[in-house]
């Protein structure tokens, strides 16, 4: 889901976010002591009935979510893991156990196939783009919105607009804006620029254009999240800063950033996962091209584009799960590392 909220992110980062025991109750009827039960067998039956009703209530309330989780997460992931150790047999139209065959193929391709290598490198670059450029820019933008730059409210709404539009629409709009049919080339021509690059047909420019799009369209959501986090910083701290004559840069990096650190860590972590998940942006910008010579393919796009027959499923499952197995510990490790900073900041 493309839209997330700050409170959700807060829950994700906080270690103490598990359900608090003090809020939980044992249902509408409390369990009696053994002595009470012996003394009043009639009451025992009543209480048991109440407990049964509560148990039925709990089961009914959770039955669908747990059933759905068991199928869509448990079964699908276990099956994918199994499939990654098989090969497809055309004659029997089934998967036959093949040991590490797919993984051997994967490692061979990782060592020798340029396309696979580029796919991994491009995906890894999304980490740099998201966490190294987009995220710091969002923090800086949010800070100035928080500092009440003129028309801050209007800007906040406009910046958020890309987050509510379908990716297909936004990406195609961006694509059409550049190139021979778009206004950018026309504008640059009229300003005297000649020999403009082929925005969507150059192995150097095109991957950069995809990254530029991701930054252009991806700032809004983080800006709103960080603005929300900054609005919760106690005013007393900021008033004290003003009295002390603290400059903007110092206030941002030494006061604000520590205060919004949990938000930063979570958005950083979610930004990291884009390495594994991003695919729609290059998919639309490159005109749904299945194979492109411009090094814009990502891990997810590779899987999305290459699945056409059941024969490809084992290799794609091995590819995806291998990437997840390598990258997820990095994400969790980074989270643990980042959470070590500014632990003493609380308000």
């Amino acid at each position: 889901m493309e839209v997330t909220t700050a409170s959700e992110l807060s829950e994700l980062t906080s270690d103490a976010s598990a359900p608090p025991a003090e809020l939980a109750v044992e249902g509408t009827v409390r369990a009696p002591s053994e002595e009470q039960e012996k003394r009043n067998p009639l009451k025992k039956r009543k209480i048991t009935k109440g407990k049964v009703i509560v148990a039925i209530f709990i089961i009914l309330m959770l039955i669908y979510p747990l059933f759905r989780f068991a199928i869509m997460w448990g079964y699908i992931n276990i099956k994918a893991l199994y499939v990654s150790f098989t090969r497809y047999d055309l004659l029997t139209d089934s998967n036959i156990f093949a040991g590490f065959l797919q993984y051997k193929l994967l490692f061979r391709r990782l060592a020798s196939d340029e396309y696979t290598k580029h796919t991994l490198i491009t995906s890894a670059l999304y980490f740099v783009v998201t966490c190294g450029i987009s995220l710091p820019l969002s923090v800086i933008f949010s800070y100035f919105l928080f500092k009440k730059v003129p028309a801050a409210g209007v800007y906040r709404v406009i910046f958020y607009l890309p987050s509510i539009l379908p990716v297909a629409v936004l990406a195609l709009t961006f694509r059409y804006s550049f190139g021979s049919e778009g206004y950018v080339d026309q504008l640059l021509h009229s300003l005297g620029f000649q020999n403009l690059p082929l925005w969507w047909g150059d192995s150097t420019i095109t991957p950069i254009m995809v990254f530029v799009y991701c930054i252009w369209a991806g700032l809004g959501l983080n800006i709103v999240l960080f603005s929300g986090a900054m609005s919760r910083v106690p005013k007393e701290i900021l008033e004290y800063d003003q009295l002390e004559g603290v400059g903007m840069a110092r206030e941002l990096f030494q006061v604000m950033l520590p205060c919004i650190w949990p938000t930063f860590v979570t958005t950083f972590m979610l930004g990291m996962t884009s390495v594994l998940t991003v695919y729609l942006q290059p998919y639309f910008l490159m005109d749904s091209a299945t194979t492109t010579p411009f090094n814009t393919c990502t891990i997810s796009l590779y899987i999305f584009n290459n699945y056409a027959t059941p024969a490809q499923a084992p290799y794609l499952a091995a590819f995806g799960l291998f990437c997840s197995a390598v990258f997820v510990p990095i994400v969790l490790g980074t989270r643990a590392f980042l959470n070590r900073f500014f632990r003493d900041v609380g308000y």
Binding site: E11, T28, I58, V154, Y176, Y307, A317, G320
Partner: protein, 304 residues
């Protein structure tokens, strides 16, 4: 003391200059976000030839026929075999509304049920459920698409509403976390009062606790609806016979571009009209619920 006061005054003046510089920078960025749509609106009113001649000029007379064509003229082919049919944009709009309403209602309902029970009731595995929600949101496992597609194809759930419900109405996802937070802030004494009056757990939940959560439910419904409306992958892979706007617009634009390609290039004015028509419902929705959405994002805040 005097010197320090002067220093503060200078800082304040410098800050104002910085803020106005940032204002200009923001203006440029905001313009880049809005201008493409204004430019498309200007050009959507041109005939193809006029657009081909000058892409920056205003149309001599604004022609609305492209918008009419976008809504009721152009279409995409959906389905296969005997079920092949044409779907116009108005049809995609209907599919989007239909799916979004069903999926949002079920997602929010299932999430509310699960969040309520996990918040207030003590039972084995309660913490595990919460852990599952967080883990599945933070840890993305890729490579399961082929298996998932195969499962839906074999069970006959492709292109069906139950299939889409199973895929999208999670109950243990983002909406769960928001509603879990909401229930934590809701006093249990309301439920206790209801229990004293003889209400069972079902009546307490449906008639007392759920209505009290209305603001949070509205808020999460709006955000969830937007995400379902904009979802491309799920309808594209699992519901392609009934294209939604988010999925169908890409196919539609590609079809129009290929079909109209000729001496004066492709019919870009018509394509721009299609884009604007596709964007309009969600922009209106955003305008209506803008405060709810922005408040939901901002008020949640993050605290260590």
């Amino acid at each position: 003391m005097k010197k320090r006061y002067k220093s503060r005054a200078i800082t304040s003046k410098a800050q104002k200059i910085v803020l106005w510089c940032v204002f200009a920078l923001f203006f440029v960025y905001a313009l880049t976000l809005i201008w493409p749509f204004i430019w498309m609106f200007i050009n959507a009113g041109k005939p193809q030839v006029e657009y081909f001649r000058d892409k920056l000029a205003f149309p001599s007379t604004y022609n609305w026929s492209n918008f009419y064509n976008a809504i009721a003229g152009v279409s995409v082919v959906a389905g296969s075999g005997e079920k092949v049919h044409q779907v116009k944009m108005i049809g995609m709009f209907g599919n989007s509304i239909y799916l979004t309403l069903i999926l949002t209602a079920l997602e929010v309902f299932f999430s509310a049920c699960a969040a309520y029970v996990v918040t207030y009731y003590r039972f084995p595995g309660r913490r595990l459920i919460y852990g599952i929600v967080v883990f599945t949101m933070v840890v993305p496992l890729v490579g399961t698409l082929p298996v998932s597609y195969d499962f839906f194809a074999k069970t006959g759930l492709l292109n069906t509403i139950p299939g889409m419900i199973l895929l999208c109405a999670n109950g243990l996802g983002f909406a769960f976390l928001i509603l879990f937070g909401g229930f934590q802030n809701l006093s249990w004494s309301y439920a206790e009062a209801a229990a004293i009056d003889g209400a069972g757990p079902f009546r307490t939940f449906f008639l007392v606790m759920l209505p009290l959560m209305r603001p949070a439910l509205v808020s999460i419904s709006v955000v969830t609806a937007i995400s379902f409306w904009n979802d491309y992958t799920t309808p594209a892979v699992y519901y392609p016979d009934h294209p939604t706007l988010a999925y169908g617009i890409n196919t539609l634009l590609n079809d129009v571009r290929r079909a109209s390609s000729g001496e004066f290039g492709s019919n870009y004015p018509l394509m721009y009209a299609c884009i604007l028509v596709a964007v309009l419902p969600i922009v209106i929705f955003f305008a209506c619920f803008q405060k709810t959405i922005m408040n939901n994002m901002a008020v949640g805040g993050l605290k260590g």
